[in-house]
């Protein structure tokens, strides 16, 4: 047995003792062992080199407890399912609006029941990762939503999984939600990670996506926060069968420390994923996007397009790895990350990687980092557009590039509005 020495690990250990009593002991103890054998990653752990999560989580606050009477403003025209302060809240969700063929269950109930098939879905162990924060999430998960879209079902209206923290007190929350799509099912899911207060909150949330043959999911993720004291780890674990398509867009508005990590496994022929998104960061915030796309079968396709806009002394991280397994011939992967630094003191860390074990593949990656283009700025200002406004136009345009293929018009408008609003909040 390894000794857990630090204050953080002692706190997690006590959370574990508590959560163990809530069911799924097998799943939890395996995850706890995986976590506690390594502890919180320090910067010598390669995948966490640029994000010092050990320092950020050195003093975890008590576990979140659900609260009553919180108003959460609606931002999308969607069927909304709310997880508030770690607990799924049917009372705040539009369960009655769910169309036929769509089922919702709370993770807490599922864990209490412990049905083996469901436990396997929750654990999602076939997407291999040894990430410590994801293990910690599995060991300590409090609640979440299991959303199932039946085979052949097409859901028109977006379904929103809103995971929101509201406590004015410091708290730690661990949630895990699932989107399980049957054969040829189609849906749009909006994942919202919000914080209503400026408290010191540590939020570790995971979204498990499982797409059966031919299923197609549009996933839009939006993360915001209020406070420098927020520490949030959002993991997306996706498993795709033959011909399944995951088309994901994210808008990250940096606050405190945010790590979004994506683990995708293309486990059937002709599976396709696209991960696109923009990150906006200012102040002292730290925004990390780390993704591993694992092509296990032939004829898969992956596209990643990220845009980072960093102001003040913010720090951005992009780590992207495309793995092509032996036999995953004709894989087609393109990964791109572009960054604009709008302050001299902002920093970007880029680490794109390819690990290719098949010979007949087409994979490429590129990462750029620079200032706004002077020629473009001159062109706009020479037409009478004041410098600040010209900068905003260019930055908005740059951010919007990441959403080029996003079909949902309401979401496109949402992105434009958020980016414009963010720009108008610039200080210098």
């Amino acid at each position: 047995m390894v000794k857990l020495a630090s204050e953080a690990e002692a706190a997690f250990s006590s959370f574990y003792e508590e959560m163990k009593t809530k069911g799924a002991t097998g799943l939890r103890s395996a995850a706890w062992d995986a976590f506690s054998s390594k502890g919180l990653p320090n910067r010598r752990v390669e995948s966490w080199h640029y994000t010092d999560i050990k320092a950020a989580m050195s003093k975890p606050a008590p576990l979140a407890i659900g609260r009553a009477g919180v108003e959460t403003a609606r931002t999308h025209d969607s069927i909304r399912l709310v997880v508030l302060d770690g607990i799924f809240r049917p009372d705040l969700s539009n369960l009655s609006a769910l169309p036929e063929g769509v089922k919702v269950q709370s993770v807490r109930d599922a864990l209490a029941q412990g049905t083996p098939g469901v436990m396997a879905l929750i654990a999602s162990a076939d997407v291999q990762t040894d990430d410590a924060l994801l293990s910690l999430n599995a060991a300590l998960m409090q609640d979440g939503v299991i959303l199932r879209v039946g085979g052949g079902v097409t859901v028109e209206q977006p379904i929103e999984l809103a995971s929101i923290t509201s406590s004015d007190e410091a708290q730690s929350s661990f949630t895990r939600s699932l989107v399980i799509m049957g054969k040829d099912a189609r849906a749009t899911v909006i994942e919202t990670a919000g914080a209503l207060s400026a408290a010191s909150i540590q939020d570790n949330q995971a979204l498990i996506v499982r797409l059966a043959q031919g299923a197609s999911l549009n996933l839009f993720s939006h993360a915001t926060g209020q406070s420098e004291a927020l520490v949030r780890v959002m993991s997306l674990v996706a498993h795709l069968d033959e011909r399944a398509t995951l088309s994901a867009y994210s808008l990250i508005e940096g606050a405190g420390l945010l790590r979004r990590q994506i683990f995708a496994r293309l486990d059937g022929e002709r599976a396709r994923v696209a991960f696109n998104g923009a990150t906006l960061a200012r102040g002292r915030s730290h925004a990390d996007t780390t993704l591993i796309v694992d092509h296990a079968k032939p004829n898969g396709e992956s596209r990643e397009r990220f845009r980072n806009i960093l102001d003040d002394t913010s720090v951005g991280v992009f780590q992207g790895k495309i793995i092509v397994r032996p036999g995953a011939q004709k894989t087609d992967g393109v990964m791109q990350s572009k960054t604009v630094l709008i302050s001299d003191s902002a920093t970007m860390n880029n680490k794109p990687e390819l690990e290719i074990f098949a010979d007949d593949v087409q994979c490429g990656h590129g990462a750029t980092c620079g200032r706004l283009d002077k020629d473009q700025l001159f062109y706009l200002t020479a037409r009478g557009i004041p410098r600040k406004e010209a900068e905003s136009l260019l930055i908005e345009g740059f951010a919007i590039e990441a959403f080029d293929g996003l079909e949902n018009e309401a979401l496109r408008n949402f992105v434009s509005e958020r980016v414009t609003k963010w720009m108008s909040g610039r200080t210098a």
Binding site: D373, K374, D375, Q376, F378, Y379, L380, T381, A382, R383, G384, I385, P386, R387, E389, A390, L393, L394, E396, G397, F398, I400, E401
Partner: protein
């Protein structure tokens, strides 16, 4: 309208304009011709306020006011317009968004009301029809993937919409086919007015057949070497610039 006196401009370490003096009156069309690399575009950048093109000596006045301390947007609001030799592509910005931002920014700076959307749309529609700019081009991001000629038309469309007092056209004719040249020249001629001046930079006499200049200036080695009437352009077409380069060396 435009008074330039003994203007010296350095880009980096290198002096490009070396005591340039030029005066253009309201209502005048002045053509500037000169060899490659003489500093014609540099002059257009200094007048419009591009960063890195600072005057080390001399002055530039617009209607009596020294403009060298103004930023590019302020100069534009005062009526200076540069049709770029190489218009910049801005893939992230929609053309219509840009046009509206530019027109309204200038109006705001002059204390005028912003344009209502229908009024704006109508102006763009009228001007683009006149200049053969297609609706499809207007729907694209600014200059993105435009051909050389399309970019030049877009410059003239902007000029028509912004109605500047001093327009500098830097080789607007290069890259235009014969028909487009005529359309663009018609666009310029339509804007000729007693209160408006043009500085037309070109290498070719052909453009000056469509846009008849009042004055022609020969620029070489960072200075205006000779000024005259339209006949000077014909002379240059025949003899080239040998006289002016020799003169400098002597």
């Amino acid at each position: 309208m435009l008074e330039i006196k003994d203007l010296h401009v350095s880009v980096g370490e290198r002096e490009i304009l070396k005591g340039l003096t030029l005066s253009v009156k309201a209502g005048e069309v002045a053509a500037i011709m000169g060899p490659n690399g003489t500093g014609k575009s540099t002059l257009s950048y200094v007048i419009s306020g591009r960063e890195g093109y600072e005057a080390t000596q001399g002055e530039v006045r617009l209607n009596g006011e020294n403009i060298l301390d103004l930023d590019p947007a302020e100069r534009a609001a005062k009526g200076i317009f540069l049709a770029f030799q190489y218009p910049v592509e801005i893939p992230g910005v929609a053309t219509m968004t840009f046009l509206k931002a530019a027109m309204n920014a200038q109006r705001r700076a002059r204390g005028e009301e912003e344009l209502a959307t229908p009024d704006f749309m109508k102006r763009v529609k009228d001007a683009s029809a006149q200049l053969g700019v297609s609706q499809e081009m207007l729907r694209r991001p600014l200059n993105a993937g435009f051909s050389g000629g399309e970019k030049k038309r877009m410059e003239i469309l902007q000029m028509a919409l912004l109605q500047p007092r001093l327009a500098i056209l830097d080789e607007t004719d290069s890259g235009l086919d014969i028909d487009a040249l005529r359309v663009v020249a018609d666009g310029v001629n339509a804007l000729r007015a007693p209160e408006r001046a043009f500085v037309v930079i070109t290498h070719y006499q052909r453009l000056l057949e469509y846009i008849r200049p009042d004055t022609v200036h020969v620029m070489a080695q960072g200075r205006i070497m000779r000024s005259g009437g339209p006949e000077l352009a014909l002379e240059l077409e025949e003899r080239g610039y040998q006289d002016y380069i020799a003169q400098e060396a002597a």
